[in-house]
């Protein structure tokens, strides 16, 4: 098929038209792709670095002794079902556990690379991100970030798609996979009802070793850096959660790399919502440009044909009558 063959024989006319059509086709597909691949406009959303007076929790992992008092306190305060193994059973440490439909928080044990005698422990619960991925992801907006800092989930709105679980960078939301038709998300509430009554979160109140410090997030950040400064040998110079995914209300101090505790070390510093905003803003572009592009295309391609078809249709009509 050669485009510059002079005066193609009549049978080939069709193929030639085919070529131009295909070109148009690829052109418009390119237009579509361009809309999807557009350089993203810099986020139009104003910077948001958390509600000014929101609360947070500083978890000093070097102080955690793995006593599971927090687990027990959380279980009791939130009226959760009694676990199969009692809270003083160290056997649970032999497996890796996640928060689940039955527990808002669990403590896990990790090997200590520097001192085999003293394993590491971490309490896992929702980190109450400042710009939560779970809330970004939920198509029904079943999550809200409150001014006090808690990320709250509303069961009445949820249809159980679990996209929030996919999105959460820390694998936090638990889901009731065993419930046939009433499955819901279960996660730490940051004891928001207790906080409202000026009480400490149950886990923080129960912690005997001082590993959990509750307070204003801004104060906690200062405190964390102060501890690092005063004891640079003990801590690595990083407050985990100060910046990760745009900042979290729960933050961590540690003496070994945070990955050792199973905390992801590959998270971007910006809020995850910024990764999808660009795409979402291209959707209206598609909606406004496509009808114009394709409408014009249609008109251009069918103008000629109308003329051609006109005569044949008239014949048809005549026959019908």
């Amino acid at each position: 098929m050669n485009d510059d063959t002079p005066a193609p024989p009549p049978q080939e006319q069709n193929t030639r038209r085919g070529i131009t059509r295909r070109r148009l086709l690829s052109l418009s597909l390119l237009a579509g792709s361009a809309a999807l691949g557009l350089p993203r406009p810099a986020s139009a959303r104003p910077e948001f670095s958390g509600w000014p007076k929101s609360y947070g929790m500083l978890v000093d992992l070097t102080l955690c002794v793995g006593c599971r008092s927090c687990e027990q306190a959380c279980n009791e305060a939130n009226h959760l079902p009694k676990p199969a193994k009692p809270f003083d059973d160290d056997g649970v440490f032999n497996e890796k556990r996640w928060p689940s439909a039955k527990a808002y928080t669990v403590v896990n044990r990790y090997p200590n690379p520097t001192n085999k005698e003293h394993p590491l422990f971490r309490k896992i619960q929702c980190n109450h991100c400042l710009e939560p991925a779970c809330a970004t992801a939920c198509p029904i907006k079943a999550y809200t970030k409150t001014e006090q800092g808690a990320v709250i989930y509303n069961e009445d709105l949820c249809f159980g798609c679990r996209y929030c679980v996919i999105a959460c960078p820390f694998n936090i939301p638990g889901y009731d996979y065993e419930s046939p038709l009433e499955a819901k998300i279960v996660k730490c509430t940051f004891c928001n009802t207790r906080i409202a009554k000026n009480e400490l979160p149950a886990c923080a109140a129960a912690c005997p070793s001082g590993a959990l410090t509750f307070g204003k997030r801004t104060d906690l950040i200062k405190m964390a850096h102060k501890r690092i400064m005063e004891n640079p040998k003990k801590y690595i110079d990083h407050v985990y959660g100060e910046r990760e995914v745009g900042g979290t209300s729960w933050m961590y101090l540690s003496g070994v790399p945070f990955e050792q505790y199973g905390l992801p070390g590959n998270l971007p510093k910006k809020p995850l919502i910024e990764l999808t905003e660009g795409y979402l803003s291209s959707v209206p572009v598609i909606f406004t440009t496509f009808p114009a592009i394709f409408g014009m295309l249609y008109a251009a391609l069918h103008k000629k044909e109308k003329k051609n078809e006109h005569s044949s249709r008239e014949v048809n009509h005549e026959q019908e009558r």
Binding site: G18, R21, R22, L25, L29, G32, S33, A35, L36, G37, K96, A133, T136, A137, C138, P139, I140, K141, A142, L157, C158, F159, G160, C161, R162, Y163, V165, I166, A167, P169, N171, Y175, D176, Y177, E178, S179, P180, L181, E182, A183, P264, N266, L267, P268, L272, I273, L275, Y279, L280, V283, I286, F287, F290, P291, F294, L297, Y298, L301, R313, N316
Partner: protein, 418 residues
């Protein structure tokens, strides 16, 4: 299977009532007894066996919860069921929009005979995708919540929900001329064909958005999706691969029609299948080249070359070279040699590649850095049988429609009306 192909077009002697005519159409012109006897075939027996085995599994899903039947768990909330049913299925079902756009918008006249088949393939596919979702959702009866109860416009899944919902409606309208011809309503038929172009443009928009949105859903998982698969170009990659998936699926649908429903195809359809397969093959080859280049560009942009020598890198290369590269070359050879058979083989290989890519993103490369990753993502037999049962149902419904509705043939009284 003895079928009476032209029953719908036959004018019976005497004037049967609506009920008789309807039953005749339903049983394809056979008596109910003959019809039930015609159903006993090896394929049907196999289908019945699969469906029967799956029944207790479906029952368990709705009485004992998801955990008893699929492997979904805390770290892998979505199992193979969703991966296959939605992420791998939807690119194939873009067939409807690609073929309809080729015919109606780009004026590629030769595609006319294929439009209905492709739209049927697409429409049915989406209906099944929705069914997979109904199995998986925790509270399936709330499926309309994102549309009516509360809105999460920051969510890509919100975009998917809306676009799929609207697109299914559009496809139903696009296919409605077939249904209306079957029922025999001329006035509605004329109305339905007159809004076709607007519907097609709407369909193109909705498809573009939601195919890309399926990829965009994973933009929020930079820490969890393996860097070889995570790229800011996920939407574009999902969209461009849907194009060749759609073309491959369309040409395989045409193959299925001439192979298994030959009596239902009119001469025009039969004579066009060859040239159409060639044309779709060309398109698919082209789209695959584009996709391949985009994949490599994404790799280069994130400078992930070093990762290629890790185990995940090898797996990535299997997907990219084995299931994009090879089908792409096969397509090229097939198109050059005008070998319809080879083009069909390439299309099949390309579709396997699509499924592999989506399963990789959803499951294999997702949460890849969890210590017990591999042992956790293996689906149990019950999940596989559910998938098998859904595929069987899909085929049965497709067959039911193909045997009755004028999909690959034109009824004489409607000729020239669309």
């Amino acid at each position: 299977m003895n079928r009476n192909a032209d029953i719908a077009g036959r004018t019976p002697s005497g004037e049967p009532g609506f009920r008789e005519r309807f039953l005749a159409k339903l049983f394809m012109g056979m008596s109910p007894a003959d019809y039930s006897r015609s159903l006993v075939t090896p394929f049907n027996l196999l289908a019945a066996a699969i469906l029967a085995t799956s029944l207790p599994v479906f029952y368990a899903r709705y009485t004992q919860g998801l955990a008893t039947v699929i492997h979904a768990n805390h770290e892998y909330p979505w199992g193979l069921l969703l991966s296959w049913g939605i992420f791998a299925g939807e690119p194939l079902f873009a067939a409807g929009f690609v073929v309809a756009a080729a015919y109606y918008l780009f004026g590629m006249k030769q595609y006319r005979v294929l439009v209905r088949l492709a739209v049927l393939g697409g429409m049915l596919g989406y209906a099944f995708a929705a069914s997979y979702l109904l199995i998986d959702l925790g509270r399936p009866w709330r499926i309309y919540y994102p549309m009516l109860i509360n809105f999460g416009p920051s969510s890509v899944l919100f975009v998917v929900a809306w676009h799929v919902g609207l697109y299914v409606t559009v496809q139903l309208l696009e296919f409605s001329p077939s249904i209306l011809e079957w029922i025999g309503s001329r006035r509605l038929h004329r109305w339905a064909t007159s809004i076709t172009v607007a519907l097609i443009i709407g369909g193109v928009i909705l498809s573009t958005v939601h195919q890309s949105a399926l990829g965009a859903m994973y933009l929020i998982t930079p820490g969890k999706l393996h860097p070889l698969w995570y790229t800011s170009h996920l939407p574009l990659l999902f969209f461009s691969s849907a194009i060749y998936a759609a073309m491959s699926f369309a040409l395989l649908l045409a193959f299925a029609a001439v192979r298994y429903f030959r009596e239902q195809c009119d001469d025009e359809f039969l004579s066009q299948v060859g040239p159409l397969t060639l044309s779709l093959g060309k398109g698919a080859a082209l789209a695959m080249y584009v996709y391949f280049v985009l994949k490599v560009l994404a790799l280069a942009q994130d400078n992930n070359w070093a990762l290629l020598t890790t185990p995940f890198g090898y797996w990535y290369l299997v997907e990219l070279l084995g299931f994009v590269g090879i089908p792409m070359l096969l397509f090229t050879v097939g198109v050059r040699a005008e070998s319809i058979g080879l083009i069909r083989v390439s299309a099949f290989a390309a579709l396997i590649g699509i499924v592999l890519n989506r399963v990789n993103v959803n499951l294999i490369a997702y949460n890849w850095n969890q210590p017990d990753h591999w042992s956790q993502i293996i689906p149990p037999w019950s999940e596989n049988i559910m998938i098998l049962a859904m595929v069987t149902l899909h085929i049965l419904v497709f067959r039911w429609i193909m045997n009755r509705f004028p999909v690959t043939r034109e009824l004489p009284e409607y000729r020239g009306l669309h």
